[in-house]
Amino acid sequence: MTAILKPALAPAGSAKPAAPIQAIFSNSPGMPRVFKSNFDYQVVRAMVAGAYGDGGAVGEIYSTARRIVDGDLEGWTVAWRDTAERVEAIAHNCLSGGHVVSAREAFLRACTYWKTGQFYLESEDPRQLEMYHRHRSCFVQAAALFDPQIEPVSIPYENGKTLPGYFMRASADGKPRPTVMIIGGGDTTCEELYYWGGGAAAVRRGYNAFLWDGPGQVGAYALDSSLTYRPDWEVPTRYAVDYVLSRKDVDPERLALSGHSFGGYFAPRAAAYEKRIKAVIANSLMPECKPILMAMVKLDPNAPYGKDLESKLDLAEPLNRLFVTDFKDRCGMTGQSLAALFDNLGGFSLAGLEEKITCPLLYIVSEGEGPLVASKGHEFYEKLICPKTEHLVRFMDGGEIHCNLNNPSLKHQIEFDWLDDVFKNNKA
């Protein structure tokens, strides 16, 4: 079976980027431009709260953002916390009055705002865990107000540990449906995969969705700090697939895995070994995490580094700070040097797996992620021998940012139209 689709439309020439391209995050035309730092990307991410058809409130986000000075991490936390509290109170108010839809939408927005406010916090800050739990709790409360309900699950993992997730049924009729397992990347929780990861989009299209966190991801680590990132992602995936295939409402012939950001490494890696996965989506492809993440924090990926790498990192950029604090912890590298962290990330490589991936693969790459990400991804894609499709989301498409966060509808159209075609002949 081959499933080669053309890009959504023939490219008609790309608009010139407004600013120099950086790796992963850049200031491209489809961005809000409220901030110059990584704050701007996080604002878009907050705007996706409810902006995938669940009742959104961009004004809430603007009015919050306007209380924040760019780069001021404490101001960021305080402003979002304030909005999250207020919107969560609206949700509780609505719920106690029996206004279920209003409550659900407000919980979904509050859920996102808690995560937005928590985003840059470091592990020593007690608010990091507290705000994570508020985030999770809002989603769990919203989940109960869906029809059918979204099911919070804990899936068994190694040594008696568990991984958090949510199962979203396309229908309550129990019939086997195509199912997409969705994971995030280096700074995500499974809750937010509902909005931009494809959870809501799947259900509208008659697919089940399983949103989950693997070890090291924000939710899994918050619930159990012994769960740090590991390169052999087929191991946690095996547990996740065991769980999903234990359900009668999952069609084993139509099981997909979709990975975002750092998940653009995890998903193809898992698919290389876990053959129960019948289709894989990488948004985008991260065949070599080390150079890409070095470029992301504005270090030269080609220059050999010594032990003093810390001094070269510009800590005024909120993302860089997050990288050497919270992200390093979740890699299991607390207390170790930045150089050691990069050495460790060197182990997250897809090199040599090109021919081991045999299921159909969709590779989505975005112009705003910059040339390094695009070239590394394309190089790997070219070596794949499975049925495969590459889709470039351009500046002119207005979905050009990392993981297409500024255009989830377009992202989901690309993903699910492809999956529909791949699965057309796969019914169990």
Binding site: A57, Y62, A89, V101, E105, G398, N406
Partner: protein, 452 residues
């Protein structure tokens, strides 16, 4: 600020006062980045009427384009836009240049409509529906600042309607494009969206726009989609003077009329002729100028069991004068043409002879004639005639308009409630367009309780 009178809906928690954004002691400012990259946005003090530049707004443009931009972005709440498509389009639009605005949106509308057609051809129905909904929004923007009398505007209007109807055909719930019989054989166009496929009587929200809305847009900002998910039917409709009503009846010269109870009588006749409409739970909401049309209709049409004005607009003449930067509380001269500043898009749009003014039936007259005509749209004196439950919703970003609306509200004697959305709540713009779900949550929670 919420003043609930008699109705038991719990008000939303009051926001704390907005602090000025200053770096905290632990602040780590970015080198050389003292100011945000965006156009400066003042914290609103109500200096502008109706379309204020407040903190919950995008700040992408300095004038009326920013309101229009937020309005389009607001459609993200109900699948009618995506952020990136809006921002990318804005990056190609020159502020205050109507042609650039139209051309900018045309590129996006064409592209997204093509995605919709491609998904449809491939059998990807949900993707097609979503892209048609977005294309419909974007086509509306292509035509927004164009004049009713320009034949091109009609074609663009048809295109947004076609995309909306295509999306409608792909919705899970029954979707009906309807024509409501009106005087002299004319038909008022609209949409009836059923809360479910049964013929059980359901509460029904009739949604009416204002000076620049069309029935299709009411699916998003007008509460159509919000009604459906809450188990209400929605009737999205237009009355004489509105763009689609005029295009649908090209020979009838269906201009605006102040006695809106007349078209509403026809609309209620039609709605109540349906088995799936519960006559005891029939509500009417009006947006923008609809905040004038709806209270007027409710004063006389007693089959309306609840009404909502976003926002109550008791003096159209005064509001229009202030919207175009002229004093609204003093007599105006007959040579208003010499007084209006046409250097900004807001004033050009509101005063040109070929659009709103034309649709009020005074396209051939002077600005003073236009204001004379608007003088007939006055709600003062009707306060005690409104007897159904009444909800006044406004926003701090509306400035003087929200003040006038609250004055009118204060004089009502019916069961009533009011919510003026604070800037900090982020839905402070005219009609709550920057946060539709906040606006709709407030309205429907109230309506739920009224109809309990």
């Amino acid at each position: 600020m919420t003043i609930a009178t008699d109705v038991k809906t719990k008000p939303n928690p009051a926001p704390a006062p907005t602090p000025t954004p200053t770096p905290t002691p632990t602040s780590r400012r970015l080198a050389g980045d003292a100011a945000a990259a965006t156009a400066s946005v003042s914290t609103d003090k109500g200096t502008k009427v109706t379309f204020g530049a407040s903190a919950g707004m995008p700040g992408r443009f300095k004038g009326n384009f920013d309101y229009q931009f937020a309005r389009t972005m607001g459609n993200t709440s109900y699948d009618g836009a995506t952020l990136g498509e809006c921002y990318e389009t804005a990056s190609r639009v020159e502020d205050e240049n109507e042609e650039s605005y139209s051309d900018g949106w045309r590129v996006t509308a064409e592209r997204v409509e093509a995605i919709a057609r491609k998904s449809l051809a491939g059998g990807h129905l949900v993707s097609a529906r979503e892209a048609f909904l977005r294309a419909s929004s974007y086509w509306r923007e292509v035509g927004f600042f164009k004049m009713q009398i320009d034949p091109q505007t009609r074609l663009i209007w048809e295109r947004q309607r076609e995309c909306f109807r295509q999306a409608g055909q792909l919705m899970d719930l029954p979707f009906e494009a309807v024509s409501i019989p009106y005087e002299n054989g004319a038909l008022l166009n609209g949409y009836f969206l059923k809360a479910d496929a049964s013929d059980e009587p359901r509460p029904t929200l009739m949604s009416l726009g204002g000076g620049d809305t069309v029935a299709e847009e009411l699916y998003f900002l007008g509460g159509g989609a919000a009604a459906l998910r809450r188990g209400y039917n929605a009737l999205l409709f237009e009355i004489p003077g509105q763009r689609g009503a005029m295009y649908s009846n090209p020979d009838a010269e269906l201009f605006y009329r102040p006695d809106t109870e007349v078209p509403l009588k026809y609309v209620c006749d039609w709605a109540l002729g349906r088995a799936d409409v519960d006559p005891k739970r029939l509500a009417l909401v009006g947006w923008s100028m609809g905040g004038n049309f709806v209270p007027r209709a409710a004063a006389f049409e007693k089959r309306i069991k609840a009404c909502i004005a976003s926002t109550s607009t008791p003096s159209m003449q005064r509001t229009m004068l202030e919207m175009i930067g002229l004093p609204g509380d003093k007599p105006y001269s007959r040579d208003l043409e010499s007084k209006i500043d046409l250097s900004n898009v807001n004033n050009r749009f509101l005063s040109n002879k070929g659009d709103i003014r034309y649709r009020f039936g005074v396209g051939g007259g002077t600005m003073a004639d236009y204001m004379d005509a608007l003088g007939k749209y006055d709600l003062w004196g009707l306060e005690e005639k409104i007897t159904c439950p009444y909800f006044n919703i406004g926003g701090e970003g509306e400035g003087q308009l929200a003040v006038d609306g609250q004055k009118f509200y204060g004089k009502l004697t019916c069961l009533k409630a009011q919510h003026i959305i604070a800037t900090k709540e982020g839905g402070e713009a005219h009609c709550g367009i920057n946060s539709p779900s906040v606006e709709h949550q407030i309205i429907f929670d109230w309506l739920d309780d009224i109809f309990k």
